[in-house]
């Protein structure tokens, strides 16, 4: 079943067009990666899906419903959760308070308790650091917290905007492993990355974004094997 569908979406910042007539779908159960260079429009795409930005034209459907005009805070309740670029940890709140923020729109206490257990299972480090202020954690720990927090709304679709940004290699491998695990537990993942190697290897399908337009699409493996993409995004390796 199609979970997310963008139809000819354009997004402007004032007169600057950051996204041009973009269309793609994310099927339930998939990991879909969106790769592209700095400034390609990856974050803009994510914010448009989560509702922080409004498209100037086109439409977005989620779980069969048109959400183009839906307010961002309602989309969270409907099942779209975003871990923003740069992690967006509330520095003055503890790890536990940050996780509670992720469940802000929820009232089902038993479901919340189950989700906090799930998050602590995925990230045992967060369990140990419950009382630590978010702002005093390392980059890798903050990224774990950001993903854990995004899971606290029990989303159908998890949006991850460059989760590997600024992390040491061993952390990057760990984060990608956990993303696959989250997906195998039933959460659909839309992943944005400059780190194309891992993002393509882990993805069912992927898109390449260049200056606001999708230029390549295929399975993760296909794009990994594509010489043009190798050259542009995968470096020598």
């Amino acid at each position: 079943m199609t979970l997310l569908e963008l139809n000819n979406v354009s997004v402007h910042y004032g007169r600057i067009q950051a996204i041009k007539d973009m269309s793609f779908t994310v099927e339930e159960g998939e990991i879909v990666s969106l790769i592209g260079a700095n400034g390609a429009g990856k974050t803009t795409t994510m914010k448009t899906i989560s509702g922080l930005l409004n498209p100037s034209s086109g439409s977005i459907r989620f779980a069969g419903e048109d959400i183009t005009k839906m307010k961002a805070h309602i989309r969270v309740v409907q099942g779209i959760s975003q871990a923003p670029e740069g992690r967006g940890i509330f520095p003055g709140m503890t790890v536990m308070e940050n996780l509670d923020m992720g469940a802000y729109g929820r009232k089902d206490r038993s479901g919340m308790a189950a989700d906090i257990d799930r998050v602590f299972d995925l990230f045992p480090r967060l369990l140990e650091r419950q009382k630590q202020l978010g702002g005093t954690m390392s980059g890798g720990e903050q990224q774990m917290l950001a993903i854990g927090r995004a899971l606290m709304s029990n989303p159908k679709l998890l949006l991850l905007d460059e989760p590997s940004m600024g992390l040491a290699p061993q952390f990057i491998r760990q984060i990608f492993k956990i993303i696959t695990e989250i997906n195998s537990q039933g959460t659909t993942v839309l992943l944005v990355e400059q780190n194309a190697n891992q993002a393509l290897a882990r993805a069912h399908r992927a898109f390449v974004l260049e200056t606001g337009e999708i230029t390549h699409s295929g399975t993760g493996k296909e794009l990994l094997a594509n010489p043009a993409i190798k050259e542009a995004y995968l470096g020598v390796g």
């Binding site: 922080l52 805070h73 969270v76 309740v77 967006g88 509330f90 520095p91 709140m93 729109g105 709304s153």
Partner: protein, 335 residues
């Protein structure tokens, strides 16, 4: 030209003098009275601090939110037959009437705050207006309300109202603390504690802190930012309405179209002194400003000095510690 100018000024040498014995003699009464005024500043300061916390906006119209509350209190008490001398009522009747006036003051102030946010600030937010537009609008709204009040009620203060005659309660080092001072300080501090707990413990309080720290991420958590903004205006209005009752109690002839102006500036100064955006800072800043003003007035022997001294201290504190006494972050103001 300068000498002739100087000659035309009253140049007796005692335009400033330090009356230390007087300060020592009156130290405790100045302290208690300073804390009373300081509590009122603190309540109003919270409104500046909360709105600044979530919007990074100095809501200059907050002084008018306060004075509208004063008018609400005044009309309520007038309707209840309060006048220049305290009414002959039993203890509980007075308490009941004052609580009624308090509630009306809170409602009028909160409504004013909500209307200002809806009519002035929200449309600007919708249009992504630049910072300066907000600031100019805030000042414009402040003056608009003042002059609407002027057109309606005229230039002179409303008839003075006495709510009750302060009775001595405690004797501390030979100085009497009266019932009025106790009512004001205790009520104000209780309200501040309630608000502090609300911000640090409740779900909505967490939402307020989240919006203050990072509005976009807060929205991604499912926080309705517009509702949080409205809530902070309402809380600020409620506290300003409470301050309105206490202020009218302390300054019976203070209900006047421009009566919020000076108090608003002092409350804003108190917020900055304590650390703008910081809930506890508002309390500390308010009390400090009340004390400093009172000590300065007695030391220098003239009530004109109250504000001069208070603002000199403010400037000094800001030079030495620009973030205010407790630092400025609503996000960090947790228990």
């Amino acid at each position: 030209m300068l000498p002739s100018l100087l000659a035309s000024m009253p140049m007796d040498n005692d335009w400033i003098s330090f009356d230390v014995p007087s300060l020592i003699e009156n130290f405790w009464s100045a302290t208690f009275d300073g804390l009373t005024f300081g509590s009122i500043y603190a309540l109003v300061a919270l409104g500046y601090t909360l709105v600044y916390g979530v919007l990074n906006l100095i809501n200059f119209a907050h002084s008018e939110v306060f004075i509208m509350g004063c008018f609400g209190v005044w009309f309520t008490l007038s309707a209840l037959n309060f006048g220049p001398s305290a009414p002959h009522l039993g203890f509980w009747a007075i308490v009941g009437n004052l609580i009624l006036a308090l509630v009306v003051g809170m409602i009028v102030s909160a409504l004013t705050a909500v209307i200002v946010e809806r009519v002035a600030y929200r449309p600007l937010r919708r249009r992504n207006a630049p910072r300066l537009a907000f600031l100019i609008t805030a000042i414009g709204v402040s003056f608009s309300i003042q002059y609407l009040l002027y057109l309606w009620r005229g230039p002179s203060p409303e008839r003075a109202l006495t709510m009750f005659h302060p009775t001595p309660i405690f004797d501390v080092f030979g100085t009497i603390i009266d019932s009025q001072q106790i009512v004001i300080v205790v009520a104000a501090v209780i309200m501040m504690i309630v608000i502090d707990l609300f911000i640090s413990r409740s779900r909505t309080g967490r939402g307020i802190r989240a919006v203050a720290q990072d509005p976009d991420t807060a929205t991604l958590m499912g926080v309705n930012k517009e509702r949080i903004i409205m809530t902070t205006f309402i809380i600020g209005g409620i506290l300003a309405g409470a301050a309105a009752l206490f202020y009218t109690m302390k300054i019976p002839s203070g209900v006047q179209y421009n009566g919020g102006f000076i108090l608003g500036i002092k409350a804003f100064a108190a917020a900055v002194l304590g650390g703008i955006g910081n809930v506890r800072g508002a309390l500390v800043g308010g009390l400090l400003l009340g004390l400093i003003g009172n000590y300065g007035q007695i030391l220098l022997g003239n009530s004109q000095w109250t504000d001069v001294v208070a603002f000199l201290v403010l400037v000094l504190v800001l030079i030495l510690r620009p973030q205010g006494v407790l630092g400025s972050s609503l996000g960090r103001s947790k228990a």
